[in-house]
Structures are given as C-alpha cells and as structure tokens.
C-alpha cells in the first residue's frame, strides 16, 4: 500500500481520486493478497470456511484463468504483489519454482497428502489441492445429424470422419491444452505423440484459447466434439446441453490445483496459516464437492457423470519434466500447427 500515495503528488489533477481509487487497508486484520485460478463460486466457499476458522486473516483474491494468472505472476517477477498462489496448476507452480519465486513450506498434515499430489522436494514449494484432468465433450444431437460415431479413445479422434468437427484448446495459451499435449508425449514418447498430433491436427476445426470453450461450443452444437477438462464437461452437461462426456481409455492428461507461498511475502505467518488450512481435511472436503480426486486420499466421493475409477485413468505426469520442457514443447507445437489457416 505504501507506494499508492505516490499518485497524489505526481498527478495533481487526480487529487480527488485516491479517495475513490485506493483500496482501504484495515490495520487490525492481516490481509493476504492471493492469486488464484479457482472458479468464483469455489472461492466463496473456501473463503467463508477459512475466515470462520481464522477471523483475523482476510483474503483479497486476484482471480483469472490459469494462463493469465501465470502470465501475471511472471510479469510481476521483479515486483511481486501476491503473498500466495492458490488453486493454480502445478505445471505453473513448477515454473515459478524454477524461477525461484516460491518459498518452500511444509504445511501441518503434509504427511496425509498423497506424495503424487505435491512437490516431491522437502519441504515442498507447492502442495496440491485437487486433480483436474482431460475429458471430451461430445454433442449427441449434432453427431446424430452428421452420423458421427462416438469416439472412445484419443486415437479415435484421428479418424477422417471427424474432419473439421473437433475443437481443442491451444496449449500455448491454455493450461488444459497443455496438459493434453504433455500427457500424450509422456504416454507415447515424443515421436509417436507428434505423429498423433499431426494426424489429429487434420481434424481440428479450431484451437481455442481456453479449456472451457471447446466444451461450451460442443454443447451449443457449434462443433460437435470439444477437448476440455472434466469440471467444465460436468457443468456443461448439467446446464442442459445434449452432450456425453468421454474419458479416453489410453489415459487422461491431468494437472493439480495447487498452492504455494511467494518468496517475498511480508506476511509469512498468515500465509503459512492459510497453507496449513488448505491441507486440512475440512478444506479437502470442500474440494471434493467439485472434483473427483483430491490430494488427501480417502476424502473424495463419486461425482455425477465421472466414472468411479477416474483416478486410475490418469496418465503418469512428471511436473518437473513438464515445467522444464514447456518452452520447447510449445515452440514445436506452435511451429507445427499454429499457422493452421495456411494449409486450408
């Protein structure tokens, strides 16, 4: 807050503005600035529960899509604003870790968190909350009109019958897109994965900039097949759209909504309190309302439209590898597919 006053002397014509513009900082309460990619309704539920347990800590949220939040944090690297990152993909947190932006901390009850769903280092730089993985939205009404068979696997999607019928998120701008690409490469190896994507590319109508839009478009019949993540697939189906949700059998790309403390925070005490709370069973129960898999085993309950063996379908995912190779993979992907319109 201290630098906000700088405005007053430098911009005389805005003399009246600080009253309106400056956020009011209450001294009695510690206020954490948290960057997040969580859905708004989730934020509300988590915040309510947390502030009930810790009334002396307030949270100010900065919410945006994973891509934007990640970009923001990297942009602000020289002058970080956030105290914590909560509910952002583990791939992004691994990038932050590489950049030295995170402060390792072992929250209370870390031992109860599944080792697969946290930073393997000790103490960890980030800890997972819940898993979100890839899914395919398939519009049954449009498929019937067009006579499209229902695909079951990733490889089914390369069938020429789907030419121009598939939308997928662009991995360069969408976390969901990247988790698919990362999964294919880790499952099949570089050579085969790129061969697969070459074939898939022939059928793609559009690459979208978000992981939600392909499913929404499938739901609206704009394009009958959309690659997405399971939370969006479930909400779209619940909104009444005529879609089936497909979980390809080869294995699902996935990522973790996870949290970490920013290295520069001046409110370490409060930040650790929030980290501790995020790893409690109470918090995990809240995650379980929206996600089929949470970081603490034994808490998740089955969800509508999500198969019971969902967790088993997840492919092997190495976040350190994923973060390290991110730039390289995206450069290759962009080179191969980004100028799609050229080949029309």
């Amino acid at each position: 807050m201290k630098s906000r006053t700088g405005l007053r002397w430098l911009v005389p014509f805005l003399a009246a503005a600080p009253l309106a513009f400056a956020a009011t900082a209450q001294a009695q309460k510690t206020e954490l600035l948290v960057y997040t990619a969580l859905e708004t309704d989730q934020i509300k539920a988590y915040e309510d529960a947390f502030t009930k347990a810790h009334p002396n800590i307030g949270i100010k949220w900065v919410r945006d899509s994973t891509g934007v939040i990640t970009a923001k944090l990297l942009a602000e690297k020289a002058n970080p604003q956030a105290d914590l990152v909560v509910g952002v993909s583990a791939s992004s947190l691994a990038v932050f870790e590489n950049e030295g932006m995170l402060q390792p901390y072992a929250p209370k009850g870390l031992d109860k968190i599944s080792p697969a769903y946290r930073d393997p280092k000790n103490p960890p730089s980030w800890v997972g909350m819940d898993v979100y993985g890839s899914a395919i939205c398939f519009n049954t009404v449009e498929a019937a009109k067009l006579g499209l068979p229902k695909p079951q696997t990733w490889k089914d999607l390369t069938d020429p019958v789907y030419k121009g019928k598939i939308v997928m998120p662009n991995p360069a701008s969408s976390g969901t897109g990247y988790l698919d690409v990362a999964a294919w490469i880790q499952m099949w190896g570089e050579a085969e994965a790129w061969k697969y994507m070459d074939a898939l590319h022939q059928n793609i109508a559009q690459y979208q900039h978000s992981g939600s839009k392909p499913c929404r478009q499938a739901g609206a019949g704009e394009f009958p097949i959309g690659l997405t993540f399971e939370y969006r697939a479930v909400t779209t189906k619940k909104s009444g759209a005529p879609i089936d949700i497909i979980f390809p059998t080869e294995g699902l790309g996935w990522d973790l909504e996870s949290s970490g403390i920013m290295k520069n925070t001046k409110k370490l005490e409060a930040a650790r309190t929030l980290m501790d709370w995020l790893a409690t069973p109470q918090a995990m129960e809240l995650y379980a309302k929206n996600f089929a898999v949470v970081a603490m085993p034994g808490i998740a309950k089955p969800l509508d439209y999500v198969p019971a063996d969902y967790e088993k379908r997840l492919s092997k995912n190495d976040f350190a590898w994923s973060a390290k190779n991110r730039d390289k993979i995206l450069a290759e992907w962009t080179k191969r597919y980004d100028a799609k319109s050229e080949k029309k």
Partner: protein, 554 residues
C-alpha cells in the same frame, strides 16, 4: 516575467510531464523490453531475429494487412455513401438512420463478433449465405470489423461533407456541370481530407483491434492476437514487445500518410462556406433510402442478435425466453461487479480526461511563449491515435510495474485503467478541444492582459463557458469509449477493477456466450441511457450558459 506567465508555463510543464509519464515513458519501455531477455539483460535484436525467422509471423502480417485492407475498402465507401445520403439527398428518416448507424460505437467490438457467430456460425440462421465457408476466420473478422468501424468512418466523412461549400455547387450549376462531373470535381475533392482520415482510422482500428479476431478469428492469426498469445499464453513479455513493435509499423505508416495529407489539404476550407441544401430528386432519394435501410437493417440485426442471445435459455436447443444469463451468468457469478467497474472507470475517464485534455489544449493554444515545447507537444498528442491499445497496455505494464518506478503503486488500481484510457483516446479529444479553442478570438487573452485580468479568470469566465459544447462532447466521447475499451486495459486490470469489456472477453473465452451477450447488452443499454441523459443535461446546461447563442440577431 510576470507571475501569471510563470503560472501558465508551470502548468504547461506539469501537463507535459504527465504526458511524458503516461505516454512517452510506457512506449519507450516497449523498445527497451524488445531488446532485453527475461531477466532484463540486453540481448540486442535476438527476439526480432527469432521472430522474423518464424513463418507464422509473415502469415500473421499478411493476414492482418489483408483483413485491414478489405475492411477499409468496404467500410469507407459504405460510410461515404451513407454520409452522402444523409447530406445530399432528401430521403425521409435521416435522423433515425444517423442514430442507427452510430449505435456500434456504444457496443464493445466483441459484441459484433459474438453476434456474427450467432448469425453465421454452425447453428446460425444465415449460415447458408456463406455457401459452406466458415464464419470463423477472415470472413468473420471482416464482417465484425466493418460493423465496428462503420460509425467511426461515418462521423469523419459526414463532417467533411457537411463542410462542403454550397456556393461551389451553385457555381457548378450555373456552368451547367453534369451531376456526375460535379461529384468528381467538387464533392469528392471536398471530402478528400475526410476520406483519407477515415481510411486511416478504419485501417488502424482493424489492425489493432484484438477483441474481434480473438472471438471470431478461429485459427486465422493476426498480429493483435499474436501479442495476446505471446504475453498471456506463452508468458513471453519480451517477444510480446517485439510483436507490438511490428504491429505499430503499419499503423504508424497509415498515421504518417494521413499527417502529410492533412498538411497539404489544410488550406482548402473557407470559413465563409455556405451550407449546401439538397434538392429533391425522386430516383436518387429512393436509391439512397434503400441503401440506408439496408445498412440500418444490418446494424440492427447485429445488435438485435446480441440482445436476443442474452435472453434465450440454451442456444440452439431451447430458445425459450430466460433471464438465466443475467441472473446466474452475471449476478450470481459475481461478474456484475465488473459492469459497475466499467461505469466507474468510464465516469472517471470522462471527468479527469476532459479536464486534463481541455486544460492542455488551452495551454497550448492560448498561452504565449515556449513555441518549441508546444510544437513538440502538438506532435506528441497525435501519437496515441497511432498506438494500438494493446501496445499501450503492454507499455504500461513494463513502465508502471517496474520496481524502480515511484509510481508503481498505481499498478493494479482503477487509476491506471483511467489513465491508460484517457491516453488511448487522447488524440481525437484533443482535436475537438483545439478546434473549439481555435474558433475563439485569439485576442481574448490579449484583451484580458490589457485589462489586467489574469488569464485563468478569463479561462473560467469566457473560454470554458464558450467552449462548453465541445467540452461536453469530449466527456461523452471518453465515457462511451471508456465503457467499451478493451485492448489497453486487458493487461492492466486487477480482479477488483476488471471492466465489463474484459469480462465479456473472458466469458466468451469460457464459452459463456449468453452471459457475454448479456453483458454487452448491459453496456449498450447504459451507454445509451447515459447519452440520452447527457443530451438532456446538456440541453439544460446549454440553455443556462449559452443564452448568447440563442439570443436574437439584429
């Protein structure tokens, strides 16, 4: 030197400092960042070399230029014909046509893209018209950009046609000049300045607009979206800076061409021109009526589809009326807050922007001395018109988020949104202010000095009241643009200051077309309401302060 002069110069210096800080500084930072790596180490032209080595860039440049050229070639003649009909025909309903044609200004450009998807997309009613081609890509971008740029071109061309000197037509008639020849020898040359200006505005708008290609562009890459991809998708700010410099090039070129043309054309207008009064010509009037009706139907269809989309339950499977997009998509989802942010932002932009811009124009035009500084400032204030909002926004991040900048506290506040918006729309507002001030007698200040009345007193007693119509005009212009602007602010908003236009972008990105259309509808509705309110307030204010205008002449 007298302290009055010192005060005026001090104010001018302060204003110049503000311009340097909020325009020059951020732009320079783009250049700096384009030759640095992630850690701020100088790397020379590496990013440029890398970027120019990728074939996708060349494709983007080609696409961008192609789309902008087509849009310009369609929009400018359309706007010219429309303006011609409004000024040179006796068709009925001119006022209504004019209002309808200007409505796109009230809507964010994204709305047009959403609406065209609804009309021409896979489930669109008019899909057949595209004969199998997809609306996603060049076609969609071109259609939406035509819709969005039309009113901007129309206003410019209309002004230049209204300035036409009726005496020239009388002279031509006396010489029995045929109508076609009159058109090519009088009308067209007279409107040349407006046409060049409109061409430049449409071209740079299309090149720099990011919302339309983002929503409807599909895989058709254009430079504006490339910047977004670099910055948001790949988190590569330095390369974003490089692309933004590439984006700057064609716009800057258009800007320079316009500037030269303007200098050459300046002497053409005579202040004693007699307004042209059209005469009836049934065939021509009917043709113009048909044309304007067609354009208006097109305009209303776009707006109407957006409104319709916001009120149906589930496109395209359940078309029953529903408020769910408003209730669940906007209010329950908390997105409605963004709408109030926009209202606030537009209000502050109008208020502070108008004050600053008019004061600056006054200091430039009506105070004495410092000719060199003033010449420099006059050049500088034309820059914003040539700087795409995305580029400006990126510059703001670089400049104001720098830890050594004492002003970095404004990063993430409403203030930075307001500042960037004021700067983004500075040029036309400045032109309006200067035109109004130039219409005032240059000797007001001299007379005041001779009567020993300080300049600021004359400013408040005479200059400001007489220029009030122009001042209010600037205010409305800034407000309306503040409601719809997206490109500069998309990099600058904080969660609690996110404007509605960005919310539309995000909702579209998440596939929430209905809610996005609902937000666009809200923006159009409130901008319209504000314009109407404005008209009422203006009329009241003018009646009080402009009594001298209405007073009977001898």
């Amino acid at each position: 030197m007298h302290w009055h002069d010192r005060l005026a110069q001090g104010l001018l210096f302060a204003c110049c400092a503000a311009l340097a800080l909020f325009l020059i500084g951020p732009l320079l930072m783009i250049f700096v960042k384009s030759v640095q790596d992630k850690d701020g180490v100088y790397v020379g032209l590496v990013h440029f070399r890398e970027y120019f080595a990728t074939p996708e860039l060349q494709q983007s440049i080609r696409n961008t230029l192609f789309v902008a050229t087509v849009v310009t070639m369609v929009t400018v003649p359309l706007a010219f014909t429309f303006a011609y009909a409004l000024t040179r025909s006796c068709m009925p309903g001119k006022g209504t046509f004019r209002v309808i044609a200007l409505t796109p200004i009230l809507a964010p450009s994204l709305m047009a893209a959403i609406s065209f998807i609804q009309w021409f997309g896979t489930q669109g009613l008019l899909k057949g018209l595209l004969a199998g081609a997809s609306v996603y890509g060049a076609i969609g971008i071109i259609l939406s950009s035509i819709y969005a740029t039309f009113p901007h071109a129309l206003m410019i061309v209309l002004t230049s046609l209204l300035l036409a000197d009726g005496r020239l037509y009388e002279a031509a008639e006396a010489l029995r000049t045929p109508m076609l020849r009159r058109f090519f020898t009088i009308t067209l040359p007279g409107a040349k300045y407006g046409l060049v200006s409109a061409t430049m505005v449409v071209f740079s708008y299309t090149v720099s607009d990011f919302g339309i290609p983002k929503v409807i562009g599909g895989n058709y890459n254009v430079l504006a979206v490339d910047i977004f991809k670099q910055v948001i998708g790949q988190q590569n700010f330095n390369k974003g800076a490089v692309v933004s410099l590439v984006l700057l090039a064609p716009v800057l070129l258009a800007f320079i061409v316009d500037w030269f043309m303007r200098r050459r054309l300046q002497a053409q207008f005579s202040s004693r021109a007699v307004p042209y009064v059209p005469r009836r010509s049934p065939g021509f009037d009917r043709a113009m009526l048909v044309f304007c009706s067609a354009v208006s139907v097109f305009m209303l269809a776009v707006l109407g589809m957006a409104v319709y989309t916001s009120f149906i339950k589930l496109w395209p499977y359940d078309l029953s009326f529903s408020l769910r997009h408003y209730v669940y998509g906007l209010i329950d989802a908390g997105v409605i807050v963004d709408y109030f942010n926009s209202l606030k932002m537009a209000f502050y932009t109008a208020l502070f922007g108008t004050l600053f811009i008019f004061a600056m124009a006054y200091l430039l035009e009506k105070t004495r001395g410092m000719a060199t500084l003033k010449a420099a400032v006059r050049l500088v204030v034309t820059i914003p018109m040539a700087v795409p909002g995305l580029v400006l926004g990126l510059g703001y991040i670089f400049f104001f988020n720098h830890p050594d900048n004492p002003l970095n506290g404004i990063y993430g506040t409403m203030a930075i949104l307001v500042l960037s918006t004021v700067v983004h729309y500075y040029t036309s507002s400045h032109m309006t202010a200067v035109t109004a001030l130039k219409a005032l007698d240059d000797e007001f200040e001299s007379v005041s000095a001779s009567l020993k009345v300080p300049f600021y007193r004359t400013f408040f007693r005479v200059t400001l009241p007489v220029s009030l119509p122009a001042v209010l005009d600037i205010g409305r212009y800034l407000f309306v643009n503040g409601m719809v602007t997206i490109s500069a602010v998309v990099f600058l908003y904080a969660p609690d200051t996110r404007p509605a236009s960005v919310a539309i972008l995000n909702m579209d990105e998440a596939g929430e077309i209905g809610a996005a259309a609902g937000m666009a509808t809200l923006i159009v509705a409130s901008s319209t309401a504000v314009c109407v309110l404005y008209a009422i307030v203006t009329r009241y204010l003018l009646r009080r302060t402009q009594a001298w205008r209405a007073a009977p002449r001898p």
